[in-house]
């Protein structure tokens, strides 16, 4: 069965400091991995997906199949990065839905 684990419920960093939000997954095949973000009073929106290999708002995430991880990183945190971040998995076969982690609330301290 597929599972997404985000070990940190809360994460606080100072502005300008590097930030890493951890995501580990369990799945026997080759899933598609996503990071979704929810800013205050806004809807859940896609931040990035591993297949696009893009850097969005300075964030990057590398899929490590050996460690089954998809950690989200940014070298210099900004105050506007404060939000709720969800890691999600889309199975390669079978279910046509996203499996979400429990989320990490990131607070960037000025």
């Amino acid at each position: 069965a597929q599972r997404v684990t985000q070990p940190e419920k809360l994460l606080s960093v100072f502005k300008g400091a590097p930030v890493e939000l951890k995501c580990n997954y369990s799945y026997s095949g080759s899933p598609e991995l996503f990071w979704y973000v929810q800013y205050s009073r806004q809807r859940l929106q896609l931040l990035l997906r591993h297949i696009s290999r893009e850097s969005i708002k300075g964030f990057t995430a590398d899929l490590n199949k050996g460690e089954t991880s998809f950690h989200l990183k940014k070298p210099f945190a900004q105050e506007e990065d404060s939000a709720m971040y969800y890691c999600a998995l889309f199975p390669a076969t079978g279910a046509n839905n996203l499996f979400f982690g429990t989320g990490t609330r990131l607070t960037v301290i000025p």
């Binding site: 997404v4 979704y36 809807r43 859940l44 046509n96 839905n97 996203l98 979400f100 982690g101 989320g103």
Partner: protein, 112 residues
């Protein structure tokens, strides 16, 4: 360009009642999925509809049902409401079955 729209935004119901939540997908999107998000948890999949057919169902009791209309809008129905059904219900639409999901603002359901 309107995104995914959900109605109502907030709802208070009594235990045992029934509720209907509505979702309009982005124009051109034929797939709609429903998720339940309990406080402190990530969204959990309930249903997916594609071209008006149910394509997936999560681990929810039969009290939960849904349908998709010819215009691709969708309704989620929950019967015999329990206190534990209190949650944010999210609707997501995709253009095809396996691509980026766009979420609505959600309907906050409170069961008292």
């Amino acid at each position: 360009d309107a995104g995914v729209t959900q109605s109502p935004t907030h709802l208070i119901k009594t235990r045992g009642q029934q509720v209907t939540l509505r979702c309009s997908p982005i124009s051109g999107h034929k797939s709609v999925s429903w998720y339940q998000q309990v406080l402190g948890q990530g969204p959990q999949f309930i249903f997916q509809y594609y071209e008006k057919e149910e394509r997936g169902r999560g681990n929810f009791p039969d009290r939960f049902s849904a349908r998709q209309f010819p215009n691709y809008s969708s309704e989620l129905n929950v019967n015999a409401l329990l206190l534990g059904d209190s949650a944010l219900y999210l609707c997501a639409s995709t253009k095809w079955e396996n691509t980026e999901a766009f979420f609505g603002q959600g309907t906050r359901l409170t069961v008292v």
